[in-house]
């Protein structure tokens, strides 16, 4: 009798923390497939990729908790990097980065305007915005990658601080800030309330409009920051970045336990989910699958994850 109860408890815990369970699974299976998975080089590489995703993921988490989604993060990330690199030669580095971040804030504000004030469907508006930004990025670079010219920038992107890559340190700072923002501040609590039920939050006196709008601004800002970090790491700005990023980050958020219904989740959970995605990408790359099969598997995984999340909600919701 007791063993059945314990087994049920374990299964529920595993089901809830899908990301941790899956991570453990991948780490257990990988050494059997390819031993070079556990080299320091590979680990550091995965960590750097994950850092960019997690930076963006923090912003997307805030938006998803508030009940919407943000698919323009890929376009913002790409454009931020291009703006930084393009302005590098003529202006000091500081100004370039500020400009890129400002662009992210602006795009986030526009997204927020359409979604919150005009009550458009967040998915389609942010999707269109992301496509638009990609077109702008292509126009600015004429579809060639452009190389960065600032040495300090590149050194920041590839250097390390106390053993961890600089990018990862920045990611941790942002992650901790976002977690504290969501858990300990009034704004964070408002996000959860707005995500749970927008109208009820508004009737309860929470500035729902402002909260949701600000969530989009934060997402835009962090996406731009992620773009700057990515460009620092690669020292190039290309309009081909960020094609699948939006989808990956949003799904990583869901995988980590922040549901699209809004109102639950946290940034560290997203970090775990995105870490899993990065590890998965790396693991798939190491197997004997070619690049296309990798994309296929990722597409299927995304559909499965969202499907499970949706099925979860369907069971919890009351059927009329």
């Amino acid at each position: 009798m007791k063993t059945k109860w314990v087994a049920k408890k374990i299964l529920t815990a595993v089901y809830r923390q899908k990301a941790i369970a899956a991570l453990i699974l991948v780490f257990a299976v990988m050494p059997l497939v390819n031993t070079s998975f556990f080299t320091v080089y590979n680990m550091v590489d995965m960590l750097k990729s994950a850092s960019v995703y997690i930076t963006i993921g923090c912003g997307v988490t805030v938006v998803v908790i508030s009940g919407a989604c943000d698919l323009s993060v890929g376009g913002i990330m790409c454009l931020a990097g291009i703006i930084t690199v393009k302005m590098m030669g003529k202006y000091p580095l500081f100004i370039c980065i500020i400009f890129a971040l400002l662009m992210g804030v602006l795009v986030g504000a526009v997204n927020g305007f359409f979604v919150v004030r005009q009550k458009s469907e967040a998915f389609v508006i942010t999707l269109g915005m992301g496509a638009l930004l990609k077109g702008v990025a292509q126009q600015l670079t004429d579809a060639h990658p452009i190389a960065g010219t600032n040495k300090a920038f590149f050194e920041f992107g590839t250097g390390s601080f106390l053993g961890l890559p600089n990018i990862t340190v920045m990611m941790f700072l942002i992650l901790i800030t976002t977690c504290c923002l969501l858990r300990f501040t009034q704004f964070g609590r408002n996000c959860y309330a707005v995500g749970g039920d927008y109208d009820v939050a508004e009737y309860s006196g929470i500035p729902a409009l402002r909260t949701k709008w600000l969530a989009f601004v934060i997402s835009g800002f962090l996406a731009a920051l992620g773009g700057v970090l990515l460009t620092a790491r690669l020292n190039t700005g290309a309009s081909t970045y960020g094609d699948t990023t939006a989808l990956l980050v949003n799904c990583g958020t869901v995988l980590g336990g922040t549901s699209f219904a809004g109102g639950i989740g946290n940034a560290w959970k997203t970090a775990l989910g995105l870490l899993l995605f990065t590890v998965l990408e790396s693991a798939l790359g190491m197997g004997s699958l070619n690049a296309y099969a990798k994309e296929l598997v990722i597409g299927i995984i995304i559909a499965v994850i969202i499907g499970i999340d949706s099925y979860d909600q369907k069971r919890k919701a009351e059927m009329v």
């Binding site: 989604c69 359409f114 005009q118 009550k119 458009s120 469907e121 967040a122 998915f123 389609v124 508006i125 999707l127 269109g128 915005m129 496509a131 638009l132 990609k134 077109g135 702008v136 292509q138 126009q139 004429d142 579809a143 699948t244 989808l247 949003n250 799904c251 699209f260 219904a261 070619n290 296309y292 099969a293 990798k294 994309e295 296929l296 990722i298 597409g299 299927i300 995304i302 559909a303 969202i306 499907g307 499970i308 999340d309 949706s310 099925y311 909600q313 369907k314 919701a317 009329v320």
Partner: protein
């Protein structure tokens, strides 16, 4: 005080309802002034020819939007059907290859509909994500199946040649196919139980389900229809460009959605008509043609298309709020 039914009121209400369409007509007028080549016979013929694939795909997309959903997988479906059809010409012959391609495309659409149904994606955004993810999977399948290679149609592929280039003057074969699909779908939408179910399920799913309308079947049906029409459009596209690239479907989903929205159908679902979509497709083709004639770079064109999409969505939500 009753509003007078005169030309001025009709004009203003037209502008209000079809604002985006009105802007495009303005663009056409401007182009006519600056580029008299626009009115040449070859250009107008070109516009009508261009209508083919996108209009067929948009017809399928309109049904999905009537039901309140969006099908973002058409890019992948088009690419997959294209590569599969061309590769099957050898073993199955032309007609067989076309049929096989259409069957596969329809099955792909049905699969998405089934998945959306099973996971109970009653919040629309999750259904969109699922279709997006599966579209990505189909696109990757197309890449895998073809090995990334663009296949050319052989020399004496008669049927494809007829579809791509044949016809009598203005009535190209692709236009005829489009008109046939249009008539069938218009009849389906306005005069059959199925069509009414789709509109009602889109307008208010809960009330429809309580009234006995098979909302679940409607969801699977619209995605299947979208897959079917996407595969027909893919065959027409392959005939026109005589190659099958595994990324041939790239921008089709956003263009199809834009076409349906410009026509005046609401994203909310439950309203609109197939004829409106035709209007939207014509306007989008005109817009592309005008931008080409005005010499706007292709990147700026995609920026403009994104702007038009956002504008259409914004006006749609303004009308609903």
């Amino acid at each position: 005080m009753k509003k007078e039914l005169n030309l001025k009121n009709a004009f203003f209400s037209f502008i209000k309802n079809y604002f985006v369409g009105f802007c495009i007509i303005l663009l056409v007028v401007i182009t006519m002034i600056y580029q008299p080549r626009f009115l040449s016979a070859s250009n107008l013929l070109n516009i009508i020819r261009q209508l083919g694939p996108l209009s067929i795909v948009s017809l399928g997309m309109s049904f999905v939007i009537f039901a309140g959903y969006l099908d973002l997988s058409v890019a992948g479906t088009i690419s997959l059907v294209a590569v599969v059809t061309v590769s099957l010409i050898e073993p199955l012959g032309q007609m067989g290859a076309i049929l096989a391609g259409i069957v596969i495309g329809t099955a792909a659409g049905a699969l998405i509909g089934a998945v959306v149904l099973v996971v109970g994606a009653n919040r629309k955004s999750e259904a969109l994500f699922i279709s997006y993810g599966m579209g990505m999977a189909y696109s990757a399948l197309a890449l895998m199946y073809s090995g990334g290679v663009t296949q050319k149609l052989g020399e004496n592929q008669k049927i494809f040649e007829v579809i791509g280039k044949g016809g009598w003057g203005i009535l190209s074969v692709s236009l005829v196919i489009f008109i046939v699909c249009l008539i069938i779908l218009q009849i389906l939408q306005s005069m059959t139980y199925i069509g009414r179910s789709v509109m009602l399920a889109g307008g208010n799913p809960v009330a429809s389900r309580l009234s006995g309308i098979p909302v679940n079947a409607v969801v699977v049906l619209v995605y299947t229809l979208s897959g079917l029409l996407a595969s027909i459009g893919s065959v027409v596209l392959v005939s026109r460009v005589t190659t099958a690239s595994p990324v041939i479907g790239k921008t089709y989903e956003t263009n199809a959605i834009t076409a349906v929205l410009i026509g005046g159908t609401s994203l909310k679902g439950g309203n609109g008509s197939v004829m409106r979509t035709v209007l939207g497709v014509v306007l989008i083709s005109l817009m592309s043609n005008c931008m080409n004639l005005l010499g706007i770079s292709s990147y700026m064109q995609s920026v403009v298309r994104g702007l038009v999409l956002i504008l259409a969505i914004w006006l749609d939500s303004k009308r609903n709020s």
